[in-house]
């Protein structure tokens, strides 16, 4: 079994390496046989890596201690679900999972049927092109992008083969060391694989951008760019009719980037939830290098998702989008470098490993390649049109991306403060959480303001008089929210600002929807609203994600009101704190096969209401002989009451910490809202619907210069659609 797994790993190394070579060389030279052999090799590589993954999974589930990896992370008493999670706890297993995700996503990208979509090669062959030019299609990018994905897969497999082999045999094959107690938590079943799936998915937009940059036809295409481009005024992806060469990759990358964004975001949020429930310090985010490592690519990815929109709708920010695609992928590798390099001497003992430097190389190569190719192709990637109004969607998107990138830079500098200051003479310095929190406040408020404004702006031109009035109404909603928050006792200026902007960010898309629906006539209002939502599904899905971000901001701002207090209680004693009455009723001890559970039974009531029981505990894990705390949380929409049991005090006393965390539920809810928005946005478009809206003509560059009066309004767009 182990030998089979090792052979499959070696086969994956060879075939992915060959696939990368053959796909790129075959595509460049036009040798179809070589290209096809590369595709076959890639498919075999994906299957071989799947087989290796299955071998490791089987070994973990059956506790096969002949595998060194199983010995390190499993023991005989470990429940099966945590044996499964041990797959991604160790270095070799997490690399295997990451590589397998890259392999599967590469296969899905290359081998999924595209049908006769408007931008496919078949469609163009059948229908020709009005200008006599042959635009770059999605098909043109598929083979080189697949080749680049295979090259990255080959890198990951090579790291495993040479530095972290999951199939390594064990010398002592009796029992294992077991899984660290803090990792035996349901969130660990989901958080690491979801983060790795996010990392793997960011490889696809990067491969697409680099493939598009490598494509010689990118240059020739822009010279033949039609003067009169057809663009829907309201954004919905309408296929090839408006496809210049440099946006083909962006249309293909859009769904992958959104998928990667939501997956990595969900992974990060699940990690925060795990930290909150399992680590028992009362918080969920500590700006730790490990946390920052995954946040940084998510931030650049957020900017990328928005830049891709401006590329697709207006043909601007092309270079930024391509560079962000390469940088986001590179920063995923950088996160791995951060956690393995040992450049931090902190409480977090990262496993130092030589493979860290391989990941530093994997960080620098895409950035250097992307930067170099962008410099070479810079003239072909000029913007198709200028930004003509500060009160347009593209201007706000550009400024928001700048704010997100500034936040990324601050996070990166804060994370690297100690190693960077080591390069200067004098002692090293580090910054605290205040640095990050302070940087977040102005950026976060600006981004919330953008979220609240953008639904009532238009692409390519200033807002209509009606939209301006509605913007004022949305601002009025914000003012009402501030008054309500003030009445509820909120006094912190940042919290009041967030309340105003979060309310406006919900009001603005609703108002935009009503405006759009009012313009179409003849049907009952509800049907018109549904019609608008159906036609502009992706746009409103984006606004739903924005609502999730508003919700997230409420949750984060709630942390400003966190309060905590330490108590010593004797049995039967009670204490009143922050509106809660806490009574220490009993201490219960339970002996389980793998651990001893010591629970304190607390009877708690809020403002004299009905009492409820909370059971904060300490678990003694027998195998590791290690105590681990289990906090008790009582959640509501206003706040979480969070109790940490520290230990005994005197003969019958206990030491507790009570924490009141306001608005935590809003934080977790934000993830669900954003996920729902992403699902709606990613839902495949029916071909019939895809052709809708292409009849709307946006003015050419010269028309926009004159003020854009010829541009179709949303009403016209809707009429065209109906």
């Amino acid at each position: 079994m182990m030998i089979f797994g090792e052979l499959c790993l070696l086969a994956a190394l060879a075939t992915s390496g060959y696939a990368a070579f053959a796909c790129i060389v075959g595509w460049r030279s036009g040798h179809d046989a070589i290209r096809r052999s590369g595709l076959w090799a890639g498919a075999v590589g994906v299957l071989a890596l799947s087989a290796t993954s299955l071998v490791l999974l089987w070994a973990l589930l059956t506790k096969d201690f002949r595998f060194d990896y199983v010995v390190q992370y499993c023991d005989n008493l470990l429940p099966w679900q945590y044996a499964l999670s041990a797959f991604w706890v160790g270095q070799a297993g997490s690399l295997l999972l990451w590589a397998w995700f890259v392999a599967v996503l590469a296969a899905v990208y290359r081998f999924r049927p595209t049908g006769d979509c408007p931008n496919s090669r078949g469609h163009r062959a059948q229908h020709g092109h009005e200008n006599g030019t042959v635009p770059l299609s999605r098909d043109d990018l598929r083979d080189p992008a697949f080749g680049l994905l295979m090259a990255f897969l080959c890198f990951l497999v090579a790291v495993m083969v040479f530095a972290a082999d999951p199939m390594q045999p064990s010398l002592v094959a009796k029992s294992g060391a077991g899984l660290a107690p803090s990792l035996q938590h349901p969130a660990m079943l989901w958080h690491p694989p979801i983060v790795f799936l996010g990392y793997a998915a960011w490889a696809v937009p990067c491969a697409l951008a680099l493939a598009a940059l490598c494509c010689p036809r990118v240059v020739g295409q822009v010279a033949n760019l039609p003067e009169q481009r057809q663009v829907g005024n309201l954004p919905h992806d309408d296929g090839a009719q408006r496809a210049p060469a440099t946006t083909a990759w962006a249309r293909e990358a859009r769904s992958w980037a959104l998928f990667a964004w939501i997956v990595l975001g969900a992974g990060i949020l699940l990690g925060a939830e795990w930290a909150y429930q399992e680590l028992g310090w009362g918080g969920y985010w500590a700006w730790d290098p490990v946390e920052n490592g995954s946040l940084i690519p998510w931030l650049t990815g957020t900017a990328l998702v928005h830049c891709l929109m401006t590329v697709r709708y207006l043909g601007i920010l092309k270079k930024s989008a391509m560079f962000l695609a390469a940088a986001t992928f590179a920063l995923c590798n950088f996160a791995t470098f951060l956690t393995r390099s040992g450049i931090f001497s902190s409480l977090h003992e990262f496993s130092r490993s030589p493979l860290a430097w391989m990941f530093l190389a994997a960080t620098l190569v895409p950035i250097a390649a992307g930067g170099g190719l962008l410099f070479r192709r810079r003239s072909a990637l000029r913007a198709d049109r200028p930004i003509t109004s500060l009160w347009s969607r593209e201007a706000w998107t550009l400024l928001s991306c700048a704010a997100i990138l500034l936040l990324t830079l601050a996070t990166l500098l804060g994370t690297l403060a100690a190693p960077l200051s080591g390069l200067l003479p004098g002692p090293k310095i580090a910054v605290g959480v205040e640095f990050y929190n302070n940087a977040l406040i102005p950026c976060g408020l600006f981004l919330l303001a953008a979220i609240a404004t953008v639904p009532l702006l238009r692409w390519g031109q200033p807002p209509t008089a009606e939209q301006k009035k509605t913007l004022l109404a949305a601002a009025g909603t914000g003012a009402i929210a501030v008054a309500l928050a003030f009445v509820c006792g909120i006094r912190h200026p940042v919290a009041l600002g967030v309340a105003a902007l979060a309310a406006a960010s919900v009001a603005a898309p609703v108002a935009a929807l009503v405006l759009d629906a009012r313009r179409s006539s003849g049907k009952p209002l509800l049907r018109r609203v549904l019609g608008v939502l159906a036609v502009h599904r992706r746009q409103y899905a984006g606004f739903l994600i924005h609502a999730g971000i508003g919700c997230f901001a409420i949750g984060v701002t709630g942390s400003l009101g966190t309060q905590r207090e330490d108590f010593v209680l004797r049995k039967g004693e009670s204490v009143a704190w922050a509106g809660y009455d806490v009574r220490y009723a009993d201490l219960i001890q339970r002996d389980l096969p793998d651990k001893v559970v010591v629970e304190t039974q607390l009877e708690v009531s809020r403002d004299g209401g009905a009492p409820f029981t909370m059971l904060p505990a300490q678990h003694l894990h027998r195998l590791q002989n290690q105590w681990a705390g289990k906090v008790a949380i009582r959640a509501s929409w206003t706040e979480d009451f969070y109790v940490i049991l520290h230990g005994s005090e005197g003969p019958d006393g206990i030491r507790l910490t009570c924490v009141e965390n306001p608005a935590m539920r809003w934080l977790w809810l934000s993830g669900w809202i954003a996920a729902a928005g992403a699902l709606v946005g990613l839902w495949p478009t029916r071909r019939a619907a895809r052709s809708v809206g292409t009849a709307v003509v946006l003015p050419s560059r010269s028309t926009v210069h004159r003020g854009g009066s010829a541009t179709a309004t949303p009403t016209e767009s809707l009429r065209a659609a109906s």
Partner: protein, 146 residues
């Protein structure tokens, strides 16, 4: 004003606000990031400053008060020892000869008055690391358990 200039001004306003706030945050929270040897070599310079020192507890120097609310120990350096006095909840893994990180200020006598004491996490790779103090001593009923 041209559109380009307007966008640049807007960007500079956002960047300026963020830079200023981040500067305030850094100014109030930065600390020296030292090893025990670096701290011993230049203790005059760091007196009264916020420091974060990583090192190993010297053998047989750990003293824990009866109520487990205070600990004193020395961090091992190659040319001497750096005394540390800490008051607060103790990590349960605290023992002689382990690696720790302390945060606090260096007093005039050359001892660290620590406000935070952190033992290092497990050596295994973890995707997320604990960011607060781990649990402390055992509940009374379980103290005689393995």
């Amino acid at each position: 004003m041209t559109m380009r200039r307007k966008l640049i001004v807007a960007g500079v306003v956002v960047a300026g606000a963020m830079g200023y706030m981040a500067y305030l945050g850094a100014a109030s929270s930065w600390q020296y990031y030292l090893t025990a040897d670096e701290c011993l070599a230049d203790s005059g310079r760091f007196a009264g400053q916020r420091i974060r020192v990583s090192g190993k507890i010297a053998a047989d120097t750990l003293r824990i008060s009866d109520d487990r609310r205070q600990a004193s120990f020395s961090l091992e350096g190659s040319n001497g020892q750096l005394p540390v006095v800490y008051a607060g909840p103790l990590p349960d893994k605290l023992a002689n000869s382990i690696d720790v990180v302390v945060e606090g200020r260096l007093d005039d006598s050359g001892a660290i008055r620590a406000e935070k004491l952190l033992t290092r996490c497990a050596s295994k790779y973890r995707s997320q690391m604990p960011s607060g103090p781990p649990p402390h001593d055992l509940p009374a009923e379980a103290e005689d358990r393995p």
